[in-house]
């Protein structure tokens, strides 16, 4: 009989390796940054080398890439998209707008810090980040997954109340389904 601890560790290593090598990204472009995704995915930078691909629906995806500013209207859709995704799931905040509001810091209709509303695993800064930066952000995410540190989804589940409170502050007409994961 193998020691349980070591068996779990080996399973973890294999699991994390598999997760990190195939990241499917929801095709959900918000803000201006989405324009950097086509060059990242196509032949010049070819993100598929790293196992990064687009996926059609949130239910089959692993990564939610928020490519810029989010109006409160979009935030509502993004939260629903995120909650429909299956575990394991990761969020990448892309561009200065997701970090501190960027050039939309004084806008009446966009949120300024994405990590108040969704758990972000990796931020990529720049306005907008070039494909090299995007790929380096993804590689950072892969490293975190490999080390088992990309646990945003875990954080979201454990602190759901806190996130919900923040979300309700900006989404006035709250008509969201409740999930029981």
């Amino acid at each position: 009989m193998i020691n349980d601890k070591y068996a779990n560790k080996i399973v973890d290593i294999i699991q994390n390796f598999a997760r990190k090598s195939s990241l499917w990204v929801v095709a959900y472009g918000t803000g201006c940054g989405a324009i950097e995704i086509p060059p990242t995915m196509t032949s010049r930078y070819d993100a598929e080398r790293f196992g990064i691909r687009g996926s059609a629906t949130p239910r089959q995806a692993d990564v939610l890439l928020i490519t810029g500013y989010l109006s409160t209207k979009t935030l509502k859709r993004v939260i629903r998209t995120y909650e429909q995704m299956q575990d394991p799931k990761y969020v990448i905040g892309f561009g200065s707008c997701t970090i501190n509001g960027g050039m939309y810091w004084d806008s009446y209709n966009t949120i300024k810090a994405l990590d108040q509303y969704l758990p972000v695993d990796v931020f990529i800064n720049g306005c907008m980040p070039r494909p090299e930066a995007v790929i380096s952000g993804f590689i950072k995410l892969q490293e975190l997954i490999k080390e088992g540190k990309a646990n945003g989804a875990q954080k979201y589940k454990e602190n759901l109340e806190w996130y919900r409170e923040n979300q309700r502050k900006v989404i006035k007409n709250w008509k969201m389904p409740d999930y029981n994961w």
Binding site: K76, G101, D106, Y108, N109, T110, A113
Partner: protein
């Protein structure tokens, strides 16, 4: 500059609408200012008789000091290649106007936007509901008395910036051993050297 066709239009407009203030700004630009109740007949006159068949743009300007909203219509004539800009002022306290969607169907969308951003009520347009904003319950946001910085500060979490407010150029230059040109130095004064 040959303003022949522009002046011809100006003359035609003045003959029919005596109160219109017509200005030929330059080639291919005519600006007309008009009382607001004359706008619907004027627009149909411009469309039917003066060949301005294309409504290129329709927007609103907030003249807070005068307590007026100004509606601006931009019409284009393909036959003469002239743009006609029609302006009219309406009351800001109770902003009301009539729809012109029977002349150009696309006006409906412009009116919905002006309604949402400035709060102008267009009589006869029945689609003036929620347009781009969702669940908006404050002043219409493009009005000049709406304070967007204050609103954003109150409603959205603000992440504080760096305390030192230091230009990063020096740091980068120090790392790469690069010389900062003299003219650039005055823009990158470090706090601790002040």
């Amino acid at each position: 500059m040959n303003l022949e066709k522009e002046n011809k239009f100006a003359k035609q407009i003045n003959e029919t609408f005596h109160s219109a203030v017509v200005k030929v700004q330059r080639e291919r630009r005519i600006i007309v200012e008009l009382r607001s109740d004359l706008i619907p007949p004027f627009l149909s006159f411009a469309k039917e008789y003066l060949s301005f068949i294309h409504m290129a743009h329709y927007s609103c300007v907030d003249w807070l000091e005068e307590n007026k909203f100004e509606l601006v219509f931009m019409l284009w004539s393909y036959e003469e290649d002239v743009m006609l800009i029609v302006k009219t002022k309406i009351d800001r306290e109770k902003p009301e106007f009539v729809t012109i969607k029977h002349l150009w169907p696309q006006a409906e969308t412009y009116e919905r936007e002006i309604h949402e951003m400035y709060g102008v009520d267009f009589k006869g347009n029945d689609r003036l509901g929620e347009f781009i904003l969702e669940d908006w319950d404050d002043l219409p946001p493009m009005r000049r008395d709406f304070d967007t910085v204050k609103y954003a500060g109150e409603h959205y979490f603000t992440r504080p910036g760096r305390e030192d407010a230091q230009d990063v150029r020096e740091t980068i230059a120090r790392h790469s051993g690069e010389e900062i040109p003299d003219f650039a130095k005055k823009y990158s004064i470090r706090r601790d050297e002040e």
